[in-house]
Structures are given as C-alpha cells and as structure tokens.
C-alpha cells in the first residue's frame, strides 16, 4: 500500500497529465455523448449571454453609422425595386401562362453573429437570435451573398454555425454554366476546393457554383462561390479547382437561418 502511495506521490505530475490526456482522448472519440453535449450546451449558453451583451454595446455605439448606411441602402433598394416591379409582373404573367406555382419553401430567421470559434482556424461562428428556438440542428445558414454553413449546436438564444471553412464540411454543388456536379471542401486557407470534377470536364475561372440540392441539409440554388483557378492533373482523375467563397466570413455581421415551412 505504501509503495503505491509513494509511486503516486512521486509521479503525481505525470499521472495528472496522463489522466487529462486520457479524458481528452475519450471526449474526442465520444463527442456526441450526452455529457459532452451537455458541456457544450452550457458553455455555449454562458458565452452566448456574454456575446449578446458585448454585441448590444457595440451595436448601440455604432447606431448613427448604421442608420446612415441603412438610409443609403434603403434609397438604393427603393430604386432597384422600381426597376424590378415590371420584371416581377411580367414573371407572374408568364408563370400563369405556363401554369407554374411560385412558392418559397423556407422561412428566413435573422441571427446576429456574436463571436467566432476560438481555435486557430475559423471553423464556426456563434449566432444569436430570439427566434432560434424555431430552428433545428443542421438548418442551412446563408446571407444575401450566399451560403455560410449549417447549424451544429443550439443552446438558449445561441447557436454554433459550422461554416464552409470547417475541415469537416462538405457541400454538394453544381456548376451553373455546364450543370456539372462536384463537392466543396476547405482548402487549408480562406478558400475552398471544388473536388471530384474529372479532367475531361471544362471548368473556367469565373464559373459560379450553386448548391445542388442533393442533400438533406442545403436547399438547391444557393450561391456558394466562384472558380478562380482550374488545373488539370494528368496523373490524377480529377482536376484541382480553387474556389473563392461568395461570403466573406471575416466581415459577417448577420446571417439568415433557413427553416423549412410546415405544410
């Protein structure tokens, strides 16, 4: 007994480290376990409250500037609206002619970006909204520029959104010009790769990518990014295609969470 106590006392530094390493490893491999999920919810809830508080202060301080920008934006949008009214009427008329039913299948729930994932690479953003209770896990998140990511965790009024730059994230996309299907993945920096496009397919810089809709998560036709470089690999089956995301993740302030309408 005294030998064990002596051993524990002598190596307690190393044993403590060993315990932490084993615990960390167990948590990594059981990340969906209830205790880990509970820990995540509690932390997100607490940090979400702090985030909302700091956000409300900065929002208050920048009200004048925001108001000025909104007035400018409002004028511009009003002008655009006049231009589009004609097109809309024509569109409705034509849809009636060919008996199309115009329908939006999603509600857009606005959410504020209150923080970023605290590890070295940006893998997620923290969102806050009073209506977040209506949202479910895996709901798509977008802005007017395009796709942001999906919701992976909800707690209180806050949520973690896994963005396209997360190493785990994969999105099925379609090239607008030639309807080719591919997969979007993180490129290790602030960009994306378009994967699984065969060397025989022509991809040009400037080609626009949209979500394909072949997913339970992302609805079709949301802009994802633009091809900036396509390189054919003679030794491989697929091309190396670099894509610039349509959303600038560093300047995100607000996003919309898509909620499927209940029929």
């Amino acid at each position: 007994m005294s030998f064990i106590l002596q051993f524990l006392s002598r190596f307690r530094d190393s044993l403590t480290l060993l315990v932490y390493l084993v615990l960390s490893f167990l948590m990594i491999i059981s990340s969906d376990a209830k205790i880990v999920e509970g820990l995540r919810s509690t932390t997100l809830f607490s940090i979400g409250i702090v985030g909302e508080f700091t956000d409300s202060i900065s929002a208050y301080l920048s009200l004048r500037e925001a108001n000025h920008k909104l007035t400018e934006e409002n004028t511009r949008l009003a002008y655009e609206n006049f231009q589009l009214q004609d097109a809309l009427l024509e569109n409705i008329r034509l849809r009636k002619l060919i008996q199309f039913k115009y329908k939006t299948q999603y509600d857009f729930i606005p959410a504020k970006v209150i923080g970023y994932s605290p590890i070295d690479i940006v893998t997620g953003i923290l969102l806050s909204s009073e209506d977040i209770g209506e949202v479910t896990k895996n709901s798509a998140v977008m802005t007017s520029d395009g796709l942001v990511g999906k919701i992976v965790k909800l707690s209180g009024n806050s949520a973690i959104c896994q963005i396209l730059l997360d190493p785990n994230n994969r999105v099925s996309v379609r090239v607008q010009r030639n309807r080719e299907l591919g997969m979007i993945a993180w490129d290790g920096g602030n960009g994306l790769f378009l994967e699984y496009i065969p060397n025989t397919v022509e991809i040009r810089p400037g080609d626009v990518l949209f979500t394909s809709g072949y997913s339970q998560i992302y609805p079709p036709n949301i802009k994802v990014g633009t091809v900036i470089q396509a390189e054919i690999n003679t030794e491989q089956l697929f091309q190396t295609i670099q894509v610039k995301p349509s959303v600038n993740f560093n300047t995100l302030e607000e996003a919309y969470i898509l909620k499927a309408e209940q029929n």
């Binding site: 390493l21 491999i29 590890i119 973690i160």
Partner: protein, 162 residues
C-alpha cells in the same frame, strides 16, 4: 484551500476565462491573412510557468475544453495539446531555464501545441500535413510567440512569484 490555490483559481477564472472570451470575440480582428494568435495558449503557458506542471496541465485541460465547446470540432482537440504544454511549461519551472533557452523553450512548446492541433485537424481534411505545416503551423507559432511576450510583459506582476 491555501492562499496559493486561491490565487491560482482567481487567475484561472479572470485570465483563463477572459482569454477564451477574447479569443472568441476580439482575436478575429487581429487576423493577419489567415493567421491568428492563441491567447488561451499564452495564458496556459503563463499559468504553468507560475504554478507548476499539475496546475499548468489542469489550466490547459479546463480552458481547452471551454474552447472546444465553442467550436464545431470534437471536444478535446484543444484540451489534449494544451494539457501537454501546460505540463511542459510547469516542468520548465523546476528545471530553471533562463535567457535564450527560456525563449527557445516557449517557442518549442507553442510549436508542439500547433503540430498536435493540426495533426488532429489533418484527419478531417484531404490536405497534406506539409501544406498545413508551412501555411498554418509555422506562422501561427510565430504570431502566438510574439503575443506571448507582449502578454507576459503586461501581466508580469500577476505571474511572477514574489
């Protein structure tokens, strides 16, 4: 609970949790191209250096778990390397390193931390580790090292033994 333990907990709550909040809310504004400093790692290193290996690894584990809870990555990915560097930082205290070796030791610990983090992340991507090494690990190590010296300069009085 003795005075030293109370002081450890106070620093862990104020600077530890504070660093997680700073990392989440303010560090994105310090981003240079794609590189960011890790303030939580800086606090873990300072805690280990001030209090020893057990407290260093404990700080690393607790703060790492908090960080992981705010990401979409599996919980434990940051806690694992931070426990190791907290421990190593505490060990440095007993070895009594000073001068140039002191700087080299800390750079080495930050580098070890980054290598472990990106080794985990590499399993989640199709990217070669060599690319992550030069595009992420080395620049992040340099940035965090610079921030380590800045932060330790300003918080010197709290992390120095009287």
């Amino acid at each position: 609970m003795n005075h030293e333990q109370k002081y450890y907990l106070t620093l862990l709550i104020i600077f530890g949790i504070g660093s997680v909040l700073i990392q989440s809310f303010f560090v994105p504004y310090l981003e240079i191209t794609i590189w960011r400093p890790d303030f939580v790692l800086v606090i873990v290193l300072l805690m280990g250096k001030r209090f020893g290996p057990i407290q260093g690894s404990s700080a690393g584990f607790i703060l790492g778990i908090l960080m992981d809870s705010l990401t979409s990555m599996p919980v434990g990915i940051s806690a694992f390397p931070k426990s190791i560097v907290g421990y190593l930082s505490g060990k440095m205290r007993s070895v009594g390193v000073s001068g140039t070796m002191y700087i080299v030791w800390f750079v080495l610990m930050i580098l070890i931390h980054e290598i472990i983090v990106y080794s985990f992340l590499q399993f989640k991507t199709d990217l070669p580790f060599a690319k992550l090494l030069y595009s992420r690990v080395f620049p992040d190590t340099i940035y965090t090292t610079l921030m380590f010296f800045v932060v330790s300069f300003f918080l010197k009085k709290y992390f120095t033994e009287d």
